[in-house]
Symmetry: C2
Subunit: 482 residues, 2 copies
């Protein structure tokens, strides 16, 4: 792979990402339909490990995994009026079965509120059935008219985790939104992704929601990337689909709902955040291979055999500790080429064993993130590797948070905001009075996406709105968004 220096990513980031996906054998994007890709075996394993993190977090908080059908009848999709308006223009439509035209056309799910609602109506009878917290991990479809980008903007999003919860009261739904935000924090933290949490402006919320909260990260090219969203749906869908429950007193009431979703953009963000000139860098708990062991060849057959034996021994010992360790014993490949291959694929730890190492009863350990080399006594190899992997995970996360914090700009005027966004500096934060007019003005002036008001700030804001100069108690974030 032609290397692209990370310093140049502000311009060439897209090219780097597209190349690294194929070359590191993560995803092949050359499928005959634009916006559809193939998860390659190595990428599929990365994806599985990422999803396991998410499943663990959801299962531990009382969510149940289920699986709903792909096709949604137009009649269902149309029931919630705001919802359909947004999606009908973006749906793929199935119109024919064989040569026969279908009586009702079916949408390929763009999201599953309207696939799930008719079932909730059947399942939910009484307050005892609530809360009901379901999720599924499926593919969703959008007929994108914007330029598609691998894993970032797909027509088939092949990995979408969508949770759908039902509650007895508004307060319960509000508490659920908070829980979902905590779950997503845990998820992104596990992947070492830094983020900002913003309440989307009312004019950019999920269609059919009371309000939407989103996680955004910043890409190396300074654009923001939405990586997760949490919505309080209120009673919009339960009224449209007549989903009611019997209260303890015997009344019938409409349920309150939330939904929250995370797509393969989370995987993309992980690759983008940690990647470098040499390829991807995987957090140890995500890496399908955590340690790659490479023998340094030697002319003397006897020494060579001793080296291979030591490699096998180290591999076995690490595996016994539950570490995913593999040897690269390919005969006709130089150590340098092996380093190249495994760096490209982001294996967190490399162990080299050569004649000198053996003499000193040592191994050489190279960490993927910094490429630092260090010698360790072979006797303590398990502890050394475990500790190193923990350190790598922490360092990756810290670096990501440091990086994003340098790309958040608090500014006092529209001009400053405009200037920063024009050069793709990251996310700008401006003081805002709360008036949508002023928000729209910002959006137009800076020609960017308004990400919304911070949900992750402790301090109270006090000042003047950048648009109208009236009293402002909010911030509004904006960025050039993917």
């Amino acid at each position: 792979m032609a290397r692209i220096k990370r310093e140049k990513w502000s311009k060439k980031f897209g090219e780097w990402f597209r190349k690294v996906l194929v070359n590191a054998e993560l995803m092949d994007y050359r499928y005959p339909i634009k916006g559809c890709g193939v998860w390659l075996p190595y990428g599929f394993k990365v994806r599985s490990n990422v999803l396991q993190v998410l499943r663990n977090l959801l299962d531990a908080t009382g969510h149940h995994e289920a699986l709903f059908p792909l096709m949604i009848p137009e009649t269902s999709l149309k029931k919630e009026s705001t919802h359909v308006k947004s999606f009908e223009e973006e749906c793929y439509w199935v119109t024919h079965g064989g040569k026969k035209q279908l009586e009702i056309k079916y949408a390929l799910r763009p999201t599953s509120e309207t696939a799930i609602a008719p079932m909730l109506k059947l399942w939910i009878r009484s307050h005892k059935d609530l809360p009901l917290k379901l999720y599924q991990i499926v593919n969703v479809f959008r007929y994108e008219t914007k330029a598609t980008r691998p894993t970032l903007r797909m027509r088939e999003v092949s990995t979408f985790k969508e949770a759908h919860t039902s509650h007895a009261t508004f307060e319960d739904a509000e508490a659920q939104v908070k829980e979902a935000i905590e779950i997503y924090k845990g998820y992104f933290d596990a992947l070492g992704i830094a983020y900002r949490i913003s309440k989307r402006p009312d004019w950019d919320k999920f269609p059919g929601a009371l309000y939407s909260v989103a996680f955004d990260t910043v890409c190396p090219d300074g654009r923001s990337l939405q990586i997760g969203t949490v919505h309080n749906l209120g009673q919009n869908f339960s009224k449209a689909f007549e989903i009611t429950y019997e209260t303890e007193k015997g009344d019938q009431k409409h349920i309150w709902q939330t939904c929250y979703g995370i797509s393969e953009r989370g995987i993309a963000a992980m690759l983008i955040t940690h990647g470098d000139d040499n390829g991807v860098v995987l957090p140890p708990r995500i890496a399908p291979i955590q340690v790659i062991i490479i023998p340094i060849p030697h002319k003397e057959k006897e020494k060579e055999e001793a080296i291979v034996k030591a490699c096998k021994n180290v591999t076995a010992r690490l595996k016994k500790m539950g570490i995913s360790a593999e040897m690269d014993l390919r005969p006709d490949v130089t150590p340098g080429s092996k380093y190249f291959d495994w760096e490209l694929r982001g294996v967190p730890v490399r162990i080299e064993i050569g004649p000198r190492d053996l003499e000193n009863n040592e191994v050489t350990i190279v960490r993927r993130d910094t490429l630092e080399r260090q010698s360790f006594n072979i006797r303590n190899i398990e502890t050394a590797v475990k500790e190193l992997m923990e350190k790598i995970a922490i360092d990756l996360q810290q670096k990501a948070w440091q990086w994003i914090s340098q790309r958040i700009y608090r500014v006092n005027s529209l001009e400053e905001a405009k200037k920063l966004l024009k050069k793709r500096a990251g996310i700008v934060e401006v003081l805002w009075c709360g008036n949508p007019e002023c928000g729209h003005k910002l959006e137009e002036e800076v020609n960017a996406r308004v990400l919304g008001t911070p949900q992750d700030l402790e301090k109270k804001i006090d000042g003047k709105c950048v648009a109208c100069r009236k009293k402002a108690e909010n911030l509004l974030r904006a960025a050039i968004a993917y």
Copy 2:
């Protein structure tokens, strides 16, 4: 659930199955589109455990899991002429993106040969790239015109494992067919499903294959159910898609391919094989809950507390051994209702702890498959449960094989075959000369599906063809098929 006695299943089997799927919280079939169902949380766990068995078998034999797009352009589907003929009438077609008509319409994959072939063409360059053994677990779609049945005949088959392999030679592909058959044996054995293996007649092979081998089981109503297929594709697809590799000598040759698939019918067959009047019966390694522990209430508070304490203690001890054990401490539910609920859901082992058990330092253990009760000393509970679960697994399998062997009939005339099939006796085997004419005659006379020639018989056959009375060295199997 209104109970339907297993003796009556020959007539009411369909009704039993449909009810048990919903009542045991496995699948809800009341989705607004016919032939599409929802995997409920409990069913989803069963499905995950079944798929884990399959993944383990495939991963251990050098298969790599991947994920290909859902939509296949009509232009790809049309490349292999036999293939498309069979599928174009059965496909769901996506014709519109939003309001715009697509230039090329897309099929929802009925199977993925033509989704994978264009990628193989990109990936396979040299003999070093072979063999390449891939699989994916996805949903597939058929616009069924026959009556749909939950998990047996769906329009969205939500669980389809399809393997696709590429080889350098015909012999390698033949060896792969054999390996696939062994993998599938291992899979069905793990689920305790009995089967017959037949090479499908030439007129009923997979469209685009050289030949097809299928696994069939027999349902309680005497119908056969195809539960797995293995195909040698020869070079049909590699020639249509121009997939070639460079041999060691430097020639370009077309690859040889196989594919083999297993759908959620495997899960269905497991439920059907072991189920009884009280609900489903799950093999221990598949059961999401392997042991349910139920306290028998007592009027005296002190004794009641001692019982609950003992239940907690037993649960913790079993969990420590890696057994999935849960307590049912619902306060206002009688033990009888609890038994009913967990029998319906097929939990393999029930442990009851009452005052008398405690006095004797015992627990009562009830196995789901036979409903036999037995007392065990509480001290050896881990061993007792482990041994019992092993026994249940073996007994379920043996019972299934015994049952099917009683439904295979070797007969010497078309009349006998006809008579047996008319009363849905199971699978009939007749002597056959090998002439397709005679096969068709059988098919017409008995009005059944010809399953093909046995691949699981040791003994050589010698006799006269039931149709033409000429020398016969083959058997031909037939059954009323689902």
